[in-house]
């Protein structure tokens, strides 16, 4: 075939005949449709697919529809968690303690959680309403709840939902997530840093530009560091890009970092301090801007914004970093994202269609690098354990109002391989002792809750089908229930030996205790199995 070839002599590109390299065999072994549905449901809803959904996909694999999962009511909450893995705002420690706001201990967790969720809720709402993703930078609203509206200069739009559209009342600019207290309370600054850390965060999150990865040498640097940062090439490598962004952020500059009024309000009178403090006017990578609003527009129009979004969500769903190997794929995802009007749905659907996402294993053609890079089996981390177990059994693990799987002050979030945003920035990928222990305890508690409420107390059924405590191994209803549970929990059809093993376990416990205890043991065993805890 013909293609453009660089002529080294002239530096020109010329049309010439080129050799076609043979296609590289795929290294991926795809998941079968039911297990793919299971993965997609866990990633996009935080819950397992229903038996009916699994049956439908098994009968007709073409019916597997990522968009349907994105349209589900659980997607928004799940997206908040996924965004939290990247934006790192779901931290346990908030600048202002709950007591300083006259909030009781019983409100402490809700307060910490609300602050961290605010920017994520804004972005998630933009996604579920199919707005262009650029609106995360231009929205003139945010998301709030009653608690936030009671402590911040914020008015909620009427509605019944816990989280509702809200508006700040302090004249802050319409810059979407960049105007949220939740973002800037997480990413503070001080006099010497002068918003540079915040600037680096924005560059990383919105353009995938990592200033911290740039080489820097302090050798030979002496004297006034502020002056040096503007002139020494070793410094300007970063500061030439960093400082103008930082200069645009001074509306969020605080003189008293622990005063509620100071850090809850936007300070327009300080917007122009940036140039005075940093010696550079606001700008975005060489383009001067007049304000934070101007910065937001520049970011939204920067091609790196859409590409970074594509790369970010690819990493979120692939559960690994994107590498040079993924260059072409990410480019394609970016194109699909743009063709879809920058609606996040388009990007997420496209990402779930990638080989890397659908892989359940690797072929013999996989190299050592492939084996190191790919994540074909993922762990249910703390947030997923919480949502899956609650959906299956109704059990919520809480203590004094704290969700034990969504925080680390009193809970087990990072112990169960999840992200806390302060010390742990990525979900775990390998099973650890603590992850195993937490998973086992959640399994036991969920099993106990389901059996007690559904079978013993006769409550509405979530986990169980038609089974009763009178049914015994060997009964058709009993075996059918085990098969149904296996299918629901693992997206696999059980072998006869699997049913036999579970029946034997049931009988052994029933002999020592009773039918309820037996069912608790069986469900616990099912929920502790790697087939449930991984996907």
């Amino acid at each position: 075939m013909e293609g453009f070839v660089l002529d080294p002599a002239t530096g020109a590109c010329e049309l010439a005949a080129v050799e076609i390299e043979p296609e590289t065999p795929s290294i991926y072994v795809p998941l079968d449709p039911p297990r793919l549905l299971r993965r997609m449901s866990l990633d996009l809803r935080g819950t397992l697919p229903t038996v009916e959904e699994l049956d439908a996909v098994e009968a007709d694999p073409q019916s597997l529809d990522a968009q349907a999962l994105l349209d589900h009511q659980d997607f928004e909450d799940r997206l908040v968690i996924l965004l939290g893995e990247r934006w790192h705002t779901l931290v346990d420690d908030v600048t202002i303690q709950a007591g300083s706001l006259r909030l009781g201990f019983d409100q402490e967790y809700a307060y910490e959680r609300s602050v961290g969720e605010e920017p994520l809720r804004l972005m998630a709402r933009i996604a579920v309403e199919d707005r262009p993703w650029t609106e995360i930078l231009t929205a003139d609203w945010t998301m709030g709840n009653d608690l936030l509206a009671s402590i911040w200069p914020m008015e909620l739009v009427e509605g019944d939902e816990d989280w509702r559209v809200a508006h700040y009342t302090d004249a802050r600019p319409a810059v979407g997530v960049l105007a949220t207290n939740g973002l800037w309370w997480r990413y503070g600054t001080n006099e010497s840093n002068a918003n540079r850390g915040r600037a680096a965060t924005l560059a990383r999150l919105l353009a995938c530009v990592d200033f911290h990865a740039r080489p820097v040498s302090f050798e030979g640097i002496t004297g006034d560091l502020d002056a040096t940062s503007a002139t020494d090439p070793a410094c300007t490598n970063c500061h030439s890009g960093l400082d103008p962004i930082a200069s645009a952020l001074f509306g969020f500059w605080w003189f008293q970092r622990y005063n509620v009024d100071e850090i809850s309000h936007y300070h327009a009178e300080r917007e122009l301090l940036g140039e005075q403090t940093l010696g550079t006017p606001p700008g975005w990578f060489g383009t001067p801007v007049q304000s934070l609003s101007g910065l937001a527009v520049e970011v939204a129009e920067d091609p790196r914004f859409s590409r970074c979004t594509a790369e970010t969500f690819a990493e979120v769903l692939w559960r690994r970093e994107a590498t040079l190997h993924d260059l072409e794929t990410v480019t394609t995802l970016d194109e699909r994202f743009q063709e879809g009007g920058l609606q996040l749905d388009a990007l997420l659907v496209a990402t779930t269609e990638t080989e890397a996402y659908r892989a359940g294993g690797l072929t013999d053609a996989a190299s050592d690098d492939d084996l190191d890079r790919e994540a074909t089996r993922r762990l249910l981390v703390a947030s997923q354990l919480a949502s899956v177990i609650e959906d299956l059994t109704g059990f919520e693990w809480t203590w004094e109002g704290y969700s034990m799987l969504h925080n680390d002050s009193d809970g087990f979030r990072i112990l169960a391989a999840d992200v806390d945003g302060t010390y742990v920035y990525q979900p775990g990928t390998e099973p650890t002792l603590t992850w195993t222990l937490v998973s086992e305890r959640v399994a036991e508690a969920g099993a106990h809750h389901a059996v007690t409420t559904e079978l013993v107390e006769g409550g509405s059924r979530r986990l169980f089908g038609e089974i009763t405590l009178d049914d015994r191994p060997g009964d058709s209803a009993f075996d059918a229930e085990l098969s149904r549970l296996w299918w629901r929990l693992y997206a696999e059809r059980p072998e006869d030996a699997d049913i036999a093993a579970l029946s034997a376990l049931w009988e052994a416990v029933d002999q020592d205790e009773d039918a309820a205890a037996a069912w608790i043991a069986v469900v616990t065993a099912l929920l502790r199995d790697p087939a449930f805890l991984t996907y």
């Binding site: 293609g3 660089l6 200069p153 004249a171 490598n237 009178e269 300080r270 005075q276 304000s291 590409r307």
Partner: protein
């Protein structure tokens, strides 16, 4: 393949390490909300408000502390850890005090100084409320003045900026008998009222010199350049001229002077 790659559009490059890699044109200018006449009217209102100088903050400060008693905070000048516990205290009248403050004044005829460091709130049962979070200080040596006010200040009984709560970040430097230069800004906590000063010099010889800015509700700034005159050309953030605007700089200057006299400091 290497040659081919050199001729294709780079799909994703390592992050550039130099500036100038902007990939988009500047955004279109946003329209101004106000005409020059409307801006002049707004400035007339805002500049008539008493600027929250150290003396103004101190006056309000002692009005708030006057709501205390011997048990809470037990000090007529400051809120100390020794008098106000972490969860606050309540006076016999029911006024709640919470937080800390330090007040310092020295008037010895040499370098006279006043400073207040504050992070506290006061709530009276009749609705009066004070919330201070910041630092203000002023030093006067002979004719020379050096003052700054940074932080957030709110006092419901004030009639100007403090009434709705004000954010501050400004300095006031100069000579009591000569020029005073303002740099920085003030702004309402929950309003569209925001002013900034860029080397705004006020004196009897040269009424006003420098740049005065007022913020548009949409978020951009109007700039008024004054050149030894109380009138100047108003421009929009994009540089486009909007017309002439006049401001009462004499009133501004005369309002500042009393607070610069150390004799006026103290409760």
């Amino acid at each position: 393949m290497v040659l081919l790659l050199a001729c294709t559009t780079p799909a994703h490059l390592p992050t550039p390490t130099t500036e100038g890699d902007s990939a988009s044109p500047a955004a279109e200018s946003r329209p101004a909300t106000y005409t020059a006449a409307e801006v002049e009217e707004r400035l007339g209102v805002l500049l008539a408000w008493e600027l929250p100088t150290p003396a103004v903050v101190e006056r309000a400060y002692f009005e708030g502390l006057a709501l205390g008693d011997d048990s809470c905070p037990g000090d007529a000048f400051q809120l100390l850890e020794t008098n106000v516990p972490a969860d606050g205290c309540v006076t016999q009248e029911g006024t709640f005090f919470e937080g800390q403050s330090q007040w310092y004044v020295e008037t010895n005829g040499g370098v006279d100084a006043l400073s207040i460091v504050a992070d506290f709130s006061i709530q009276a049962t009749d609705g009066r409320e004070m919330r201070f979070g910041g630092l203000t200080d002023i030093s006067v040596e002979g004719d020379a003045v050096d003052a700054s006010v940074t932080g957030t200040w709110a006092w419901t009984e004030d009639e100007a900026w403090l009434a709705e709560g004000v954010g501050t970040a400004f300095t006031l430097v100069g000579e009591r008998s000569g020029a005073l230069v303002l740099n920085g800004g003030v702004g309402g906590l929950t309003s569209d009222d925001h002013l900034t000063f860029e080397s705004l010099s006020l004196s009897s010889d040269c009424p006003a010199e420098g740049v005065l800015r007022v913020r548009d509700p949409a978020g951009d700034w109007y700039s008024l350049v004054l050149d030894c005159d109380s009138c100047g050309e108003l421009s929009w953030y994009d540089g486009s001229p909007l017309g002439e605007v006049c401001v009462d700089v004499d009133g501004m200057r005369s309002a500042l002077d009393p607070g610069l006299d150390p004799e006026t400091w103290g409760p």
